[in-house]
Symmetry: C2
Amino acid sequence: MGEFDLIARFFNRRPEQGIGDDCAVFTPTAGTQLCISSDMLVEGRHFFADVNPEALGHKALAVNLSDLAACGATPRAFTLALALPEVNEAWLEGFSRGLFALADLHGCTLIGGDTTKGPLNICITVFGEVPVIGGKSKALLRSGAQVGDDIYVSGTEVDHVGQARLALELMRGNVKADAAALDSMRHRLERPTPRINLGVALRGIATSCIDISDGLLGDLGHILKASNVGASVQTDWIKGSMEFALAGGDDYELLFTAPPSQRNALQAISSKASTRVTCVGQVSRELGLRVLDEAGLPIGKSFSSFDHFSSP
Amino acid sequence: MGEFDLIARFFNRRPEQGIGDDCAVFTPTAGTQLCISSDMLVEGRHFFADVNPEALGHKALAVNLSDLAACGATPRAFTLALALPEVNEAWLEGFSRGLFALADLHGCTLIGGDTTKGPLNICITVFGEVPVIGGKSKALLRSGAQVGDDIYVSGTEVDHVGQARLALELMRGNVKADAAALDSMRHRLERPTPRINLGVALRGIATSCIDISDGLLGDLGHILKASNVGASVQTDWIKGSMEFALAGGDDYELLFTAPPSQRNALQAISSKASTRVTCVGQVSRELGLRVLDEAGLPIGKSFSSFDHFSSP
């Protein structure tokens, strides 16, 4: 099966003008800005070789949609570039099923891409829109955190930061669990839920936002640096391992800041978006990041964040 | 060197809002559509392992800009996703130099991307703009060829279709040449010139356009299919191997159609864009593609086009 057949058979769902042309032609909605994110997923680094292809199709798009969520952008379209070691129809069928199920859920259209032979590599670039009102962009950035803001993390009772890392360690055999627990954890690692509804609802409410891909503390560090502020983070809200919750990585929950005056608004948003948000700390004038134990005393231990390039 | 250092050191030239945020924030020019293209380059398939990294940086962006040229789009921005087997500073320095030299030449800004560890893979997504005038897009498509149109290919006396394939066969050792000839040919394979100025000038003149990446006849076939027409192609203009000129691949010249009434306009455009264009055939009502010898008689030989997925 050649390149053209592959595209036609599994990925030909491009309804916009420019189907089959050298470029996809995309008409941005008037009065909006585009938010653009590109993520590359590589076997052995972002997923295991034996991962279910449907879960992989889901995750490849989910990590990109999570970046849109962090900017408060409404998903519109994506491109897919795919290097495959061989044409495996069952694999492609599963992969495209997982990919399109999530794309359809968010009205995000595949508008173009590329396929080639090579070591398995999935590169998705995603396009979302945020309104520009009175000349001012409504995109959520990392740089707006204010002294006195609350710091929040998204996640539900059963679906929270730290679980993806726990799943990874279970699958690596570093942590023991029964088959049912492993299965439920694996789901969390392989099928993250991009918090699109929450992100969109946070426009105009949150002062800064990021998605947690490298660990809560590491990603909070990006907000603090961009906003030139510090923070203290409590730990009494953590379920399970403190290390995994604070520095686990691959969580794809939203971490954001908002002033105390927005507490009621946030409860309404959280309820409407069906996504729990938990206050985990406060932004301070004093630079640096202080992790506090249940008595409010600083924890000396350092937590190293997850880095897709240098970590094992 | 971790992921963040890599980005900061070699690729941190993102002047738009959203630097270091989860998404790049991009403001399309009012009254335009976006043309978007994504290409993935893999070692051993699109380039040799020992390719000069500066040439590779050039080519990775050039093949994407060539897609914009084929749509008549003005380059604006691109994202770069890069999987690297190791951090090799000399390699990254050369690669980024070649990449940015071409990007700067066309005012095309790096706005975001991703780096990860993995088998060498370069995925660029490029964004260009075409005006929308009176509700009508000025993007060049494959589908507008009209019966009676002339068929043109770009290229100069020293820089023409077929040379990239000749270079490939020289480097594979299938064709013999002296060192000077090999060097000059290698340049053609490794440093294609995207025909941006020509593509932009063809808006409103050409009825259809494509860039030649899979071979002249194969890519002409895409125009004919999309336009529901046929064509005859002459061969008296060919320099060197007919096989390489008609089915060589990796040329990145523009192949386009225009009515005979535009012949004078095309000469002016060609002169202004400093890019020679050669009339190589005519669009016909009769479907199919006829290749004619110098006496105007059909050549029976079939030419198979280049396919990055199934070809050796």
